[in-house]
Subunit: 357 residues, 2 copies
């Protein structure tokens, strides 16, 4: 049967001060009044019932996750003692699915992306899942690029193998790390490259077989954890073993060298809203291209992102800034340096200002 | 006897969001942990006892003023129903002093300036007060300029008339409105011009005589108010009459054409901290010339003024900005546009966001 694995292990630095250790990005209502994780869960409506939705998250956010998704059986929230990247995360979830359903087919989704075409999304996932159920292999969905973005990884398309309705299924030639602008422009022009959105489909058993072949240490650790599952020492084994697992991504660590990989090109509007300025991809701007949320006022200012979850925010005579205010913290940074919010979080840590972390 | 009149009628727009209608600048602890009005009051220690200190303030801040200055007899806080500029304000206070002490000599001080040399300040005030007690006339203290400031009015020095200890007493040639930069530079070079700091001394009766000569309408109104003082209709007369008084300044409206005016040049460090960026005149900057107060962090940022009375504020990669955060409001504006905070306050008023006004 079809299961959905939602990867919700974000650490909550890129959206500081809105995001915190206990309130990472996926728990934030960044673009509507609904938290991103809840939007991701709701997007599965009609495709996968709640009892077959699994959320892999951190210990710090497990309770908040269960509260946000009350339809979910409590044991379907898998709490990683610490983040060990997506190979461990998807492997852990594959074991959980298989324990319930040895023939489980999984679609794997980041918790914090924006996809507005729900029908197209569900249709593509269905086609991908059918393909891996029938053919095996590890499959990824690639987004047709709309700009020469240097902030994403890319997928190089192989030959088209088959069609499922409107969806073409290709071989996957290569995963590509974030390119420079020149290469990103070449990729865009060629039509043979897609954005790697981190959305996957596979039979749970196929993923575990590949992990066993390529990452035996990870496979052993995951088996130890799975063997303890349901026993008295379930929690202590998880806490002892999981942090020792090799931390590598499922795409470069497993799929890159897998026996068979597929890619389904999709063209629904998608955003990973990876930073504050990316909100302007999703939220409409005012006549001066300011994107605002909350009680804000902008005077003689343009192209700013001004967000408040509490205080009234006034900006005057400034351009291209990110200004974010919460009741207990404020950030001001130029849009083109927004990724430096990580330095802020490090700085707060150094200062031991734990109340705003 | 010597009385001190503290003019504390600020409306609290230039220091928004820290300042509000009910918490104007003089009630803020802008440069130390002590509110400016309290610093002004404490500066009089040893010169004028509390029972002869008068504070003219607005109805909205009268209670907060009494709370801040518990030594002050409650009736020494004079609450203007609305601000009518300094001629009305000093005239009201002169009547209050005379009712208690017909021979009152008054020193008049803005509530919200910074003067760090308390000894020099008290010594100059004493010399000025002695001079007007002996000679009559209206006297102002002028600050030796240290830069070609275009934000202040100037005083043109007349001939030196006499000395009192270290203090020279000059005739006053002219009050001059804020000059342009060329003229300000000429003033600075000539050595014959001083900054008009709005600090005065006179016999209360001499001020009222001049008001009677030059502003008979104001004199009549003030007499009506004074006549009702202590009676059952004291409050209602004040509220009916005061708002109708001509609103003019004591320097241009009264002193400019007065029979005899004096000026005492003083050279103690002085700042009227007229705007957020002016805090850098008084507060030390860090190695990148950032002036900060409260829990703030600045990363790769220079020459900013970053102030918080609550939230943790982080700025990254910005220069020459004012960032001010309070628990319920945040301002971001370039330093050289800081005076535009008035537009913000108008905007908030238009939006009827009264809770942050």
């Amino acid at each position: 049967m079809l299961h959905a694995i939602i990867m919700a292990g974000g650490s909550g630095t890129r959206f500081w001060p809105a995001s915190r250790r206990r309130r990472p990005k996926q728990l934030l209502a960044l673009v509507t009044d609904t938290p991103l994780l809840r939007m991701t869960f709701d997007r599965l409506n009609g495709l996968v019932p709640p009892e077959r939705v699994w959320v892999v998250t951190t210990a710090a956010t497990a309770d908040a996750t269960r509260e946000l998704l009350p339809e979910l059986p409590a044991q379907n929230v898998l709490a990683e003692p610490e983040g060990r990247n997506t190979a461990a995360c998807t492997g852990l979830a594959a074991h959980a699915c298989i324990a319930q359903d040895p023939e489980a087919v999984c679609v794997v989704l980041p918790a914090d992306h924006i996809i507005e075409d729900h029908e197209g999304f569900r249709s593509a996932l269905t086609a991908g899942a059918q393909h891996v159920r029938a053919n095996g292999g590890l499959l990824t969905f690639g987004i047709s690029p709309t700009r020469p973005e240097t902030g994403y990884g890319y997928l190089e398309l192989g030959e088209e193998c088959t069609h499922d309705g409107e969806w073409a299924i290709h071989g996957l030639k290569k995963f590509i790390e974030k390119p420079d602008l020149d290469r990103a422009e070449t990729y865009l022009d060629s039509g043979r490259y897609l954005w790697n959105a981190g959305i996957f489909a596979w039979q749970a058993s196929d993923l575990l077989t590949e992990i066993e072949k390529q990452l035996p240490e990870l496979a052993n650790g995951l088996e130890t954890i799975a063997a303890a599952c349901g026993g008295a020492d379930e929690d202590s084994v998880l806490h002892d073993v999981y942090p020792t697992l090799p931390a590598t991504s499922v795409d470069f660590g497993v799929m890159e060298n897998a026996a068979q990989c597929w890619v389904v090109p999709v063209d629904f509007p998608w955003s990973d809203i990876g930073s504050w300025p990316a909100l302007s991809e999703t939220l409409p701007g005012d006549e001066n291209n300011n994107v605002t949320r909350g009680r804000t006022t902008t005077i003689d200012s343009s192209s700013n992102v001004v967000i408040s979850t509490g205080p009234t925010v006034a900006v005057v005579g400034v351009d291209d800034l990110v200004v974010v205010a919460t009741p207990d913290a404020v950030l001001v940074v130029p849009k083109d340096q927004a990724q430096r919010v990580k330095e802020v979080v490090e700085n707060l840590r150094d200062n031991e200002w734990d109340d705003v972390l």
